[in-house]
Subunit: 489 residues, 2 copies
């Protein structure tokens, strides 16, 4: 076991350094003085170089070759380290360096292009990013589908073809559900100003209600809410909007879902490859089930309505039923991150199909905007009015993140499956939620999903928890049932 | 210049990583959730290993051998890097590792022993720390004075003998001044509760008044005030005490002195060996001159009195004269960190003489407590009542910090010299200070001391600014004049 022990000691230090780098990112979004940007870039670069140097350390290959392990945990550790090492070693150092440099530049150009509504300014650098990512994918995958090689970084084991089959089944029913809903009168919307202190106080109460532990975390404000860190230090951020407290409350519950996943991983896995969420999709399943299936349920909305009345007085919504409609209001919009449960996945499916075509070469970067706008009009029934509401709205592609988008919808699909099983396992769930009580539900998720960390492959995590291979069926059934209840469709 | 360029590129990344490690320490004292301690220790350890690995990288030796530099800046960079590299390489890795392990353990044992008032519990590990530091000093210094080798880490160029000569001249006049003052009736003391929000607001105003720039920094609360970081991100902390707002205000001004030194270094030196304060003594000279010679001056106290009246109303001090006495009140006390300008250096001189004797072998660790108590009684005229008020009060020795204490008094001596020159250069200083205006004074310090960073040796920095070799005379003259004015001695 000497080789395995050496490997794990080395890995442990790498994991600790990864946590430090992550916390530096947290600091940048929450605490960093504005004048420190230039220095911080060098600090990030130095940490990235240290981490990269450790990832390509040839001793890893020697230890892996010599490691003779027994037991599920050790085997999983070796599997994670081997996958990461082999992948990293397949990508030439010059390509990795050029990707880092190009995406950093592309990110800046994208931000300017979005602000200028100027797609043409972004396309040349995007072409280069696409080229480099295709090169990288080819280096990793050989003759296999390059998109799968990228996807594998975020969702080990997933393939573009399997996701496409699942998403093609989702799309028509979501398009139909959306159209039917938007034919009906909309529920009322909030129309008040809600003071920031009240929003933050209730947001903290919600975090606590969903089991977030501030002994091993903290909540701060940031422009874009996020969760950060693993193990004993898992921090979240939130934001407030004067007229839209749901933005604050539901982004908090969403990040709490991510953070609780990290906080609830078996402590024995601390600072090992098993000590973090196993994939983007499984991570998103936790944030989404906390946010939507639990947090936007009729029962929980009833409790939240009372909390908001306590915090803000009469805020213009007459009763729990109206409040439930208000929370789950579906309306036209261009922006993925602002979309409701019904439309969100349509935004993702659009991106998935386009980025897969970009990577296969079936779609040229020059034709991307037209393809985006056509697809948007087809699924949403109205036209994109400007690039910042269309092809320039998301940061991902500028950062080279191809293969990342589908994990959002995969997370929703997983959340649908988990929710179905959870309802069976916790029959009194609605009675709990109506009292703001989530411990039976979050306890079931902790026991069946979260505590395992990286022990099992992503698909296996969900299959073990639900007893079956995940499909899109439960999510669709849940959405149709829920919104037919609210909208009478 | 290729070797020099390579050396500097490598050093720049090391400096950036040092900033990251420092910010991790800042986070621990201000933001870290309490449950994260164990993980954070591993994160710190991992960063320390990375930094140590870079400090002993043999390429540094090769680059240094090949570097053929011209110009003051390049020569100074090489001088810093060479000094650090040669010193590090002289200490065997096993000794460095055992020192790190032992001082970490000693720190925990000291904290428990202090809390238990149990000197005997601390002595065995302190003996080991002393042994190891003597070994290290011998490795670095060969046959030279081992204390000088330790001192050199904090105050390059200083020697125990030179400091002893200076401090032996300070001691009798300080003892006499202290005794004369304490024979007189004391000025009034504050006797109110001052609300925390008011203290923090005025504390921020003071930071701004002394030129601290929050564009490149921030102010947070911490148990022990400190300043942290260099270059574009220099943060300070403060604390409040309900009945002692001076604790908040003057610790803020003190840390602002440290922070402004870092913020005002020539931007060309960013992330190079010249981009940080040159020594502990010069650093302390800046914090002390901001805090004492400027902040506790009669003129500035007049302005502060008005600020406190505005913030807290009538707080029981009738006029500016009474307030000036109140700020500069001298009273008996055991604790170095709570001491006034007159007594502070006596606390330091005691530690300097004892630690020098420990390092030379003239004093055995077993005899340390008795030696402390005898010396305290001799200089302060009353007996130490318990170890936490005596030999166990400071953290330094448990962490192996021998040679650090004298830099506090050296800083005061330097502040005395700088103040004398500053008064000559800014004749209208008291008029400025009476309006809470410090820019002429802090501008003179920036121009003559701070902007140089590590360009000159510590003694040269002060000599260039004042036009003469620093001595204890100006500090003593200043203290005697100031306190004879307040106390009529």
């Amino acid at each position: 076991m000497a080789a395995y022990d050496d490997l794990m000691a080395f890995q442990r230090e790498t994991e600790a350094l990864g946590q430090v780098a992550g916390r530096l990112g947290w600091d940048q979004e929450t605490m960093m003085p504005e004048g420190a940007t230039e220095q911080r870039a060098e600090e990030h670069g130095a940490m990235a170089n240290v981490l990269h140097g450790r990832r390509v350390d040839p001793r890893i290959g020697e230890w892996l070759a010599a490691a003779d392990v027994t037991g599920e945990v050790a085997a999983a550790n070796v599997r994670h380290i081997r996958r990461s090492y082999e992948r990293t070693m397949k990508v030439p150092a010059a390509l990795a360096a050029e990707l880092a440099k190009t995406t950093s530049r592309a990110h800046r150009i994208w931000a300017q292009a979005r602000s200028d509504e100027d797609v043409a300014a972004f396309l040349p650098i995007l072409k280069r990013v696409v080229e480099l990512r295709r090169e990288e994918a080819a280096a990793v995958a050989g003759d296999a589908d390059p998109y799968d090689a990228l996807l594998d970084d975020y969702e080990p084991g997933a393939t573009g073809a399997a996701l496409a089959a699942m998403f093609d089944a989702l799309r028509p029913r979501l398009v139909a559900l959306r159209a039917a809903i938007l034919d009906k009168p909309a529920p009322m919307a909030l129309d008040r100003v809600f003071d920031e202190a009240g929003q933050l106080a209730l947001s903290s109460k919600l975090a606590e209600a969903f089991g977030y532990d501030v002994t091993n975390g903290r909540i701060d404000k940031a422009v874009h809410p996020f969760s950060s860190g693993s193990g004993l230090d898992v921090r979240i951020t939130t934001r407030t909007a004067a007229r839209d407290p749901f933005n604050c409350f539901y982004s908090t519950i969403h990040e709490v879902g991510h953070a609780c996943y990290e906080q609830n991983i078996d402590r024995d896995y601390l600072l090992t490859p098993l000590g973090a969420g196993v994939s983007m999709g499984v991570h998103e399943s936790q944030s989404r089930i906390y946010e939507n299936q639990l947090g936007r349920s009729e029962a929980f909305c009833g409790w939240l309505y009372g909390q908001m009345r306590d915090a803000f007085g009469d805020f213009g919504v007459p009763d729990e039923a109206a409040f439930y409609g208000c929370v789950n209001r579906v309306s036209d919009g261009f922006i993925r991150t602002e979309a409701d449960e019904v439309q969100y996945n349509l935004h993702v499916l659009l991106r998935f199909d386009l980025e897969r075509a970009l990577m296969s070469g079936d779609l040229a970067v020059d034709d991307l905007e037209a393809a985006w706008n056509d697809r948007f009009a087809a699924d949403f029934g109205f036209a994109v009015d400007k690039p910042s509401n269309g092809v320039l709205q998301d940061v991902h592609w500028s950062e080279g993140l191809f293969g990342y988008f589908p994990t959002y919808t995969l997370g929703n699909v997983y959340a649908g499956c988990l929710h179905e099983s959870l309802r069976g396992a916790v029959p009194g769930l609605d009675d709990d939620l109506a009292r703001g009580e989530t411990s039976a539900a979050t306890g079931w998720l902790r026991e069946n999903v979260q505590r395992h960390g990286g022990l099992y492959e992503p698909l296996d995590v969900i299959a073990r928890a639900t007893g079956q291979v995940p499909t899109e069926g439960p999510l669709l059934d849940y959405l149709e049932a829920k919104f037919s209840g609210i909208y009478g469709v």
